[in-house]
C-alpha cells in the first residue's frame, strides 16, 4: 500500500464537505464526479498497479467520473431544474453534521476488529464518514437530483471500503455494487423525468401526495 493513499482519502473527506456545503447543484455534481475519479486513483494506489486494480480503476473513473455526472447533468438540462440545492437543513448545520459524522467514524473505526494492515489507515473511517455523508444528502436535500447524488456519495463510501479489502472481498461484490448503482441512477433518471412531468416540479417532498 502506497503512502499516497492517506492524502487521497483526505481529499475524499474534503469533497464530502464540499458536496454538503455548496448551494449550487452543478457544484454538487462536480464534487461527486471528482470524488468518483479520485476513488479510481485510490484503487490504483492501494494495489499498486495489479491488472485487476487497473481494470477497477478504469471502470470507476469511467462510470463515476464521467458517465454518471453526464447523466445527472442531462437530467438537469432536460427537466430544466433550478440550480439551487434547496436543503431541509441549512448548509452550516449540514456541515456540522458531516463533521460530527467524520469524528464519530474515526472513533468507531478504532473500536472495530480490523486486520493489522488496516489499523491506523484512513480507509475505514473515510469510508464510514462518506457513507454517513451520503445518508445526510439523501435525507436532507429536497430535489430528486440531489438524492441521486447522495446515493452516489453513499456508494463511494462503500467503494472505499471495497477498495481497501479488494483482495479479501470477491471482486464480484464490487462489480455487483457498481451495477446496482448504475441501475439506481438509471431508475432515478426515469423518476426525475416522470416526477417532473406529473407534478411539474422535482420536489420529492411532493411525493407525499401519493401516500394512500
Amino acid at each position: 500500500m502506497s503512502s499516497a493513499v492517506d492524502p487521497v482519502l483526505v481529499l475524499v473527506l474534503l469533497l464530502n464537505f464540499y458536496v454538503v456545503g455548496t448551494s449550487r447543484l452543478h457544484a454538487v455534481i462536480n464534487g461527486v464526479a471528482l470524488q468518483g475519479a479520485v476513488l479510481g486513483v485510490l484503487a490504483l494506489l492501494v494495489h499498486s498497479g495489479s491488472v485487476l486494480s487497473v481494470l477497477v480503476a478504469l471502470a470507476t473513473i469511467l462510470l463515476k467520473g464521467l458517465l454518471m455526472p453526464m447523466m445527472l447533468r442531462r437530467a438537469m438540462r432536460e427537466a430544466s431544474i433550478r440550480r439551487e440545492v434547496e436543503p431541509f437543513i441549512d448548509y452550516v448545520p449540514s456541515l456540522l453534521a458531516v463533521a460530527v459524522a467524520t469524528g464519530a467514524s474515526f472513533a468507531f473505526a478504532r473500536r472495530l476488529p480490523l486486520a493489522p494492515q488496516h489499523v491506523g489507515s484512513l480507509l475505514v473511517p473515510a469510508s464510514l464518514a462518506t457513507v454517513g455523508t451520503g445518508f445526510l444528502v439523501l435525507a436532507t436535500r429536497r430535489k430528486a437530483i440531489t438524492q441521486a447524488a447522495g446515493y452516489v456519495v453513499l456508494e463511494n463510501g462503500v467503494f472505499v471500503l471495497g477498495v481497501g479489502l479488494l483482495e479479501a472481498m470477491p471482486f464480484l461484490v464490487e462489480v455487483g455494487v457498481l451495477l446496482d448503482l448504475f441501475v439506481a441512477i438509471f431508475v432515478m433518471g426515469i423518476i426525475i423525468y416522470q416526477v417532473n412531468r406529473e407534478f411539474a416540479s422535482l420536489d420529492t417532498a411532493r411525493l407525499s401526495n401519493l401516500k394512500e
Partner: protein
C-alpha cells in the same frame, strides 16, 4: 456432451428474446423464435441423451460466496428438462401466430424476451446442483414470469393478477432461502447433491415443511394456489401453456428433490402429501366447474392435476415409509408420468383455448358457442386435450392416473392401518375427481364449441393459421402416443426412479403397461371410425330449430349456458364454493328487463387472505404516522436501522 448441449440450450433460450431486441423490428420474431428453437432442440437432445445414459455431474468454481457452477443431470432432471424444452419450443412457434408484432406491437418484443428468460431460468434450476445456482435460476424464472403475467399492464385485472403472483413468489423465495440456509446448517455446504439425510431428526421436519411451503406455492397446491387462476387467465395463452404446463412443475421438481434427500421419510410425511394432493385435486376441479372464464377454468384444473401428482408422490412416500418397493414405483412413476402428461395436455388445452379466445375475442364461456363449425381443428385439439385431462383411455392422462390408482389399490390391500386408510380414502377421491373433471369438460367443450354461437363475435370466427395449429397437432399426437404406447416412456421413468432412490425395479414389473397398448389401439381405431362416421353424418345433416316451449322468439342466448350446466354441482358443493348470485325478483306478469349474475369467488384469496390483510392493516393503524410518504424520512429510517444494527451486532 450431454451437459454441453443443455448448457448451450440454457444460454440460447435465455438470450433468444434479448437478441431480438438488437435487430430491426421486422426480423425480431424470426431471430427470437429461431434462436429459442435451436436452443430447445439442443436441450431436448441433451435431455434424451441423459435419459439414455448415466447421470452427468460437473462443477466449475464460481466467485460467488457459497456458490459453485455445479450441474447435475440425472434421470429426474432430464425428465423435467425434456418437458421444459419441448413445451417451450411449441409455445414459441405458437406465439409467432398468436402474439405477433402486427397484432401486439407494444408487447410482442417484451413477451419474447421474458419467455426465453423464463425457459432458461427453469432449465438452469433443474440442472443445477448448488443452492445458490438453483436460486439464480429460480429467481430468473419467477421474475421473468411476473413480467409475462402482467404483459397486458393497461388492464387493472391483469395488473392485480401480476401483483398477487409477485407477492406469492416473493413469499415462496423467502421460504426457499430459509430452506437452503437450514439445509446448509445440516450438510455443511450449499451442494444439493448430498447423501441421504436422517429424517428422524427434528430439523428434518423443519426442512420438509419449508420445502413444502416454498415449492407448494410455486406448484399451486391448495390452499397456496391463490396466484394461479389469475396469472394463468391473464397471461397470453402460450405463456399460460408454459406456466401451467412447465413452470408450476418446478414446484413438483423441488418437492421430489427435497423428499429424496431423506432415507426413510416418516409415515406422516407421505400422509400429509397425499392429503394435500387429495385436497388440491378435489377442490381444484370443484372450483373449475364454477368458472365462467375459459382460461381460469383451465387454471383451476392445473390445481387439480398438481393434486393428482402429489397423490402419486404421497403414495410413493408411503411406499418408502413402509418399505414397499412396488408401491414406491407405482406412486412415483404415476406422479412423474402425470407431470409429463399434464404438461402435454394442459399446454394443448391452453393453446386451443387461446386459439378460440383469439378468434372470438373473449374468454367468457357464455359468450362463445358453436365454434366447432368454423374452427374444427381447434375444436378437435381441445377435445383431445379434454379427454386426456379427464383421464379417459386411450389417451395419456389415463396411463398416469392408472399408475396412481394401482398404487392406491395396492395400499387398500394392506392390513388395516394408516396405509389402508390412505388407499381407502385416496382411491374414491381420485374417482370423484375424474368424474367431476368429465362434468367440467363436458360443460366447457359443450358451451364453447357446440350449439349455436351466442354472440356475433363468436359467429364470425376463423380457424387459426398453421403456426398455431402445428404445435397443437404435435401435442395431440403426443397425447395419443403416450396413451397407446406407454412402454415407450417406461425406460425414462425407470431412469428417473433410480435417481430419486429407487432400487431399479422397472415400472413394467409393477404395472401392465403393454396391456394398455392392446386395449388402447383397438379403442383408438373404433374412435377414429366413429369420428369419421359422425363427421360424414354431420355434413349431411340439416339445421332445425329446437322446440321452444311455445316461445316465439328464441335466440341463441337461450341455450344451456355453462353456468346453468354447472348449477347442480356448484349447488351441491356450495359450502366450499360459496357461489354468489344476484337474481332479479320477478313478481309481475310482465317484468321489466333485468340482469342475472352468478360468480364463484376465489375463496382462499377473497375470504381468508384478503380479510387477514385488512385486519392486520387495521391493527397496525397506530403505526401509520411513520408512513409519511416522504422519501427523506424513509432514508432516515434506513440510516437509523443501520446504526442500530451496528450497535447491536458489533
Amino acid at each position: 456432451m450431454t451437459l454441453h448441449l443443455i448448457l448451450l440450450a440454457i444460454a440460447l433460450t435465455g438470450v433468444s428474446g434479448l437478441l431480438a431486441l438488437l435487430v430491426p423490428r421486422a426480423h425480431g420474431a424470426r431471430v427470437a423464435t429461431a434462436t429459442l428453437l435451436v436452443g430447445a432442440t439442443a436441450g431436448a437432445a441433451g435431455a434424451v441423451l441423459a435419459l439414455r445414459g448415466e447421470a452427468v455431474r460437473r462443477a466449475w468454481p464460481w466467485a460467488v460466496p457459497g456458490g459453485a457452477l455445479s450441474f447435475r443431470v440425472d434421470g429426474l432432471a432430464a425428465m423435467f428438462l425434456l418437458q421444459i424444452f419441448v413445451i417451450a419450443a411449441l409455445g414459441a412457434i405458437y406465439g409467432v401466430g398468436y402474439f405477433s408484432d402486427e397484432q401486439q406491437p407494444q408487447h410482442a418484443r417484451k413477451v419474447r424476451a421474458f419467455y426465453g428468460l423464463t425457459t432458461a431460468g427453469m432449465s438452469l434450476l433443474v440442472a443445477s446442483a448448488n443452492a445458490v445456482l438453483f436460486l439464480v435460476g429460480w429467481e430468473v424464472m419467477a421474475l421473468a414470469a411476473f413480467m409475462l403475467v402482467s404483459t397486458d399492464d393497461e388492464d387493472p385485472v391483469a395488473r392485480h393478477a401480476g401483483l398477487v403472483y409477485l407477492l406469492s413468489t416473493r413469499v415462496g423465495t423467502l421460504c426457499l432461502i430459509a430452506y437452503f440456509a437450514l439445509l446448509r446448517s445440516v450438510t455443511g455446504s450449499f451442494s444439493l447433491d448430498v447423501a441421504a439425510l436422517d429424517a428422524a431428526r427434528p430439523v428434518s421436519t423443519a426442512l420438509f415443511a419449508l420445502a413444502l411451503a416454498a415449492f407448494g406455492l410455486k406448484a399451486g397446491v391448495m390452499p397456496l394456489h391463490i396466484w394461479l387462476p389469475g396469472a394463468h387467465a391473464n397471461a397470453p395463452s402460450h405463456v399460460s401453456a408454459l406456466m401451467s404446463g412447465v413452470l408450476i412443475k418446478m414446484g413438483i421438481y423441488g418437492i421430489v428433490r427435497a423428499v429424496s434427500l431423506f432415507v426413510a421419510p416418516p409415515v406422516w410425511w407421505g400422509g400429509l402429501v397425499l392429503s394435500l394432493g387429495i385436497a388440491s385435486a378435489v377442490l381444484g376441479v370443484l372450483f373449475a366447474i364454477g368458472q365462467h372464464d375459459l382460461k381460469r377454468l383451465l387454471a383451476y384444473h392445473s390445481v387439480e392435476n398438481i393434486g393428482i401428482i402429489l397423490m402419486g408422490l404421497g403414495v410413493a412416500m408411503l411406499g418408502r415409509a413402509f418399505g414397499d418397493e412396488t408401491l414406491f414405483v407405482l406412486g412415483a412413476a404415476g406422479a412423474l408420468l402425470h407431470t409429463w402428461n399434464h404438461g402435454i395436455f394442459k399446454a394443448l388445452l391452453f393453446l386451443s383455448a387461446g386459439s378460440a379466445v383469439h378468434a372470438a375475442g373473449t374468454r367468457e364461456i357464455d359468450r362463445l358457442g358453436g365454434l366447432s363449425k368454423k374452427m374444427p381443428a381447434t375444436a378437435g385439439a381441445f377435445a383431445v386435450g379434454a379427454i386426456a385431462i379427464c383421464g379417459l383411455p386411450p389417451l395419456n392422462g389415463f396411463v398416469s392416473e392408472l399408475l396412481v390408482y394401482l398404487g392406491l389399490a395396492r395400499a387398500c390391500a394392506a392390513t388395516p392401518g394408516p396405509l389402508f386408510a390412505a388407499g381407502a380414502i385416496g382411491a374414491p377421491a381420485l374417482a370423484l375427481v375424474g368424474a367431476l373433471a368429465v362434468a367440467c369438460f363436458v360443460k366447457a367443450y359443450g358451451a364453447v364449441f357446440l350449439g349455436e354461437p351466442r354472440t356475433e363475435a363468436a359467429r364470425h370466427v376463423h380457424e387459426s393459421g398453421p403456426a398455431m395449429l402445428g404445435p397443437m397437432a404435435t401435442l395431440a399426437v403426443l397425447c395419443v402416443l403416450i396413451g397407446v404406447g406407454p412402454v415407450l416412456v417406461a425406460p425414462a421413468l425407470d431412469r428417473a426412479l433410480v435417481s430419486i432412490g429407487g432400487s431399479g425395479a422397472p415400472v413394467r414389473s409393477a404395472a401392465p403397461l403393454s396391456l394398455l397398448t392392446w386395449i388402447g389401439a383397438p379403442l383408438l381405431f373404433v374412435i377414429a371410425i366413429g369420428v369419421i362416421w359422425a363427421y360424414r353424418r354431420r355434413v349431411a345433416s340439416r339445421a332445425q330449430p329446437t322446440w321452444d316451449c311455445g316461445y316465439a322468439a328464441g335466440t341463441a342466448r337461450m341455450q344451456y349456458t355453462s353456468s346453468s350446466f354447472a348449477e347442480i354441482i356448484v349447488g351441491l358443493f356450495s359450502t366450499v364454493l360459496r357461489p354468489e348470485r344476484s337474481a332479479p325478483k320477478i313478481d309481475a306478469l310482465f317484468p321489466a328487463a333485468s340482469h342475472f349474475h352468478s360468480h364463484v369467488p376465489e375463496v382462499v384469496l377473497d375470504r381468508a387472505i384478503a380479510p387477514t390483510f385488512r385486519v392486520t392493516g387495521r391493527a397496525l393503524a397506530s403505526l401509520r404516522w411513520m408512513q409519511r410518504g416522504s422519501v427523506h424520512l424513509y432514508v432516515v429510517y434506513v440510516f437509523a436501522a443501520l446504526v442500530l444494527a451496528l450497535l447491536v451486532f458489533r
